[in-house]
């Protein structure tokens, strides 16, 4: 278990982290989510000792971290983090060796990982010669080459195409299933909610919510109605219904999203909609992480 315990950090006047506590259990992929500037990167840098916290501490298996124990961590920063002119193989061997691996082990681990991530045929190429997708794989390999117990990735999915997202998700899930602790960050809440079981959502350096995605959604007690309606004008027809409010019109095609309080009956909404126009699509859903986040941020005292 990796834990940030009551961690605070200021940069001048700006409060980057405000008494943030986060727990990352092993065996599952945990997403650290929040908008840009919410403190995700600072939290990760504190885990790696790149930045010293003003208060609080970071614990792994209930003991404070030191440089020696951090060697069992793998880090993939948001941008690059690699020497563009080094070859893939040399770079991975170098990173393995600075974690303390002996040269033969480092070389063997590099070959194995390049094979696993399908970049073995580019081993002798310089990193700057690779496509962005392949560079991302090398970055991932760089974080994995010493077979770390804890894997921390900063915005690993940004800029990836759907195939690459699926591939990375699978790799992370495999690490977690093998007992590893995996934490990644993202500012795209909706994109990643299907990629991880648990999330920690932060804003302005403070915890907004955390837990299993499914439980968070269920615990909100809210439901969303997705509705495609032709012939009705706006959402006036729904306003008279108790416990129903519009959370956004999708514009084209008349797509609507309605928030239903627990007392509202979705079937009565359907009846009202059919009276107002022609219904093409009607579905009951749990709120998205994005919606929960926005709601929580609006509720929170500023």
């Amino acid at each position: 278990m990796l834990r940030l315990d009551d961690v605070s950090k200021r940069f001048g006047e700006r409060r980057a982290l405000d008494r943030l506590s986060v727990a990352v259990p092993p065996g599952e992929v945990v997403g650290l989510l929040g908008p840009n500037g919410s403190g995700k990167t600072t939290a990760m840098r504190i885990v790696f000792g790149v930045v010293d916290p003003d208060g609080g501490r970071v614990l792994y298996e209930d003991r404070p971290l030191d440089p020696e124990r951090r060697r069992r961590f793998g880090y993939m920063p948001e941008e690059r983090g690699l020497y563009p002119r080094m070859t893939v193989r040399d770079h991975l061997v170098y990173l393995a060796r600075i974690t303390g691996m002996a040269a033969p082990h480092a070389r063997a681990a590099t070959e194995r990982l390049m094979e696993e991530l399908d970049i073995a045929d580019r081993a002798g190429d310089r990193i700057e010669q690779l496509s962005l997708g392949n560079q991302q794989r090398v970055q991932l390999a760089a974080a994995l080459v010493h077979d770390p117990d804890v894997l921390v990735l900063d915005e690993p999915f940004s800029g990836l195409d759907p195939v690459a997202v699926a591939g990375l998700t699978e790799t992370l899930a495999r690490r977690a299933a093998a007992g590893g602790t995996v934490l990644f960050s993202s500012h795209q809440l909706d994109l990643v909610e299907s990629l991880c079981e648990s999330v920690v959502v932060i804003d302005s350096g403070r915890l907004v919510m955390s837990g299993r995605v499914h439980e968070l959604k269920r615990a909100s007690g809210q439901r969303r109605l997705r509705l495609e309606l032709e012939g009705a004008d706006g959402t006036a027809w729904a306003r008279s219904l108790p416990g129903v409010s519009a959370v956004g019109a999708n514009g084209a095609g008349g797509g609507l999203r309605l928030a239903l309080e627990p007392e509202a009956d979705p079937l009565r909404v359907l009846d009202a909609a059919r009276a107002a126009g022609t219904v093409h699509d009607f579905a009951l859903e749990l709120p998205s992480l994005n919606e929960l986040f926005l709601e929580a941020v609006e509720r929170a005292p500023r």
Partner: protein, 399 residues
Amino acid sequence: MTWWPGARLVAARELLERSRTRSFRIVTALLVLIGIGGVVIPSIVGGSDEPTELAIVGPAPPGLRDALAGAARAVGFELRVERRPDRATAARAVRGGDLDAALVGAAGEGRATVLVDDELDPELRAAVSEALAVTRLKAGLVEAGVAPERADRLLAGAPLAVRPLDPDAGDEPTGAEIGLGVSAAVLLYVALLLTGIQVASAVAEDKTGRIVEVLLASLRPGQILFGKVIGIGLLGLGQLLALGVPLLVGALAFGSLDLPEATGTLVAATIAWFVVGFALYSAAFGALGALVARQEEVGQAISPLSMMLLAGYLLTVVGGGDQFDSPIVRVLTILPPFAPMTMPMRIAIGSAEPWEIVVSLALAIGSAAVLMVLGGRVYRRGIVRSGPKMKLRAALRRG
């Protein structure tokens, strides 16, 4: 990983990756060529030390041969005199380059002719004309009844005793020595500036590329900075050696003939002061490189250090002009920021007292230690600080 192996891995990567670049190979090859050229070219050009060959054609007054050789020695060159039977063969030899000149019609008191290929060297002209005058004058004196021995004595030139009043007389550096000293200052200035820029850029590359964050997961900041400094410093030293070793070998092997005597001392002093100067400047360069937000800011960030190096170089050129006679200049040359550029020249031209060398070395090494501690602190703070360029004062503040 313990401290040294970690720093060694960083240094090894720096060394290996840099030595693989094309620019490094080209520059090193050029330096080797210059080093070899510095030895070979003077010994080719030095062919002018061969004695000048002059032939006497036809009858000549007695003693002309000795008078010619003596006059040439007095002017400062070596003259070999031979005889040729007739004007035609002598002219052929002059045209063919076997002879530098041929003297025709030396007998009697009339006009003598000197055959040359193109023009008559002024020193040779002076020697020939003096020798002719002396021999003809001796003939006249003998004719007038003066004993030949007395005539010889009178014409041998009055002996002059020279007594120097300057206690340092004879230690005056030659132009060639000063020239070499200035070359050493240029070399040290360029070498320290380039290696310094490399350290600053390497640090900035790590920071702006976020590579340092990956490294910091495994290494301490001090290991990274020290490893980079050592790697780049060794490469710089290697390049200096590529230039210096041929020069040094040349100076030791044929030195006395073709290179000024001080060359060996100067090459050794240059290499030693590069090591000291690099120790002094490198951590500061690394620290300033750690403050930038973008790679393009490196040049501006390190400008205080490049100014200091330039000042040391200028001090050598300006102060060397009058052999560092001014006391203010002498003090400045001993101070750490300038000593790496100025001291090799002062050592080479013999203007540095032993205590001055010791004091300047001690000051430089002491300052290097202080700068490494301060530089390490600035580096530690700067390297992880994202956002706009950090102020040096902010990075130094607080323990």
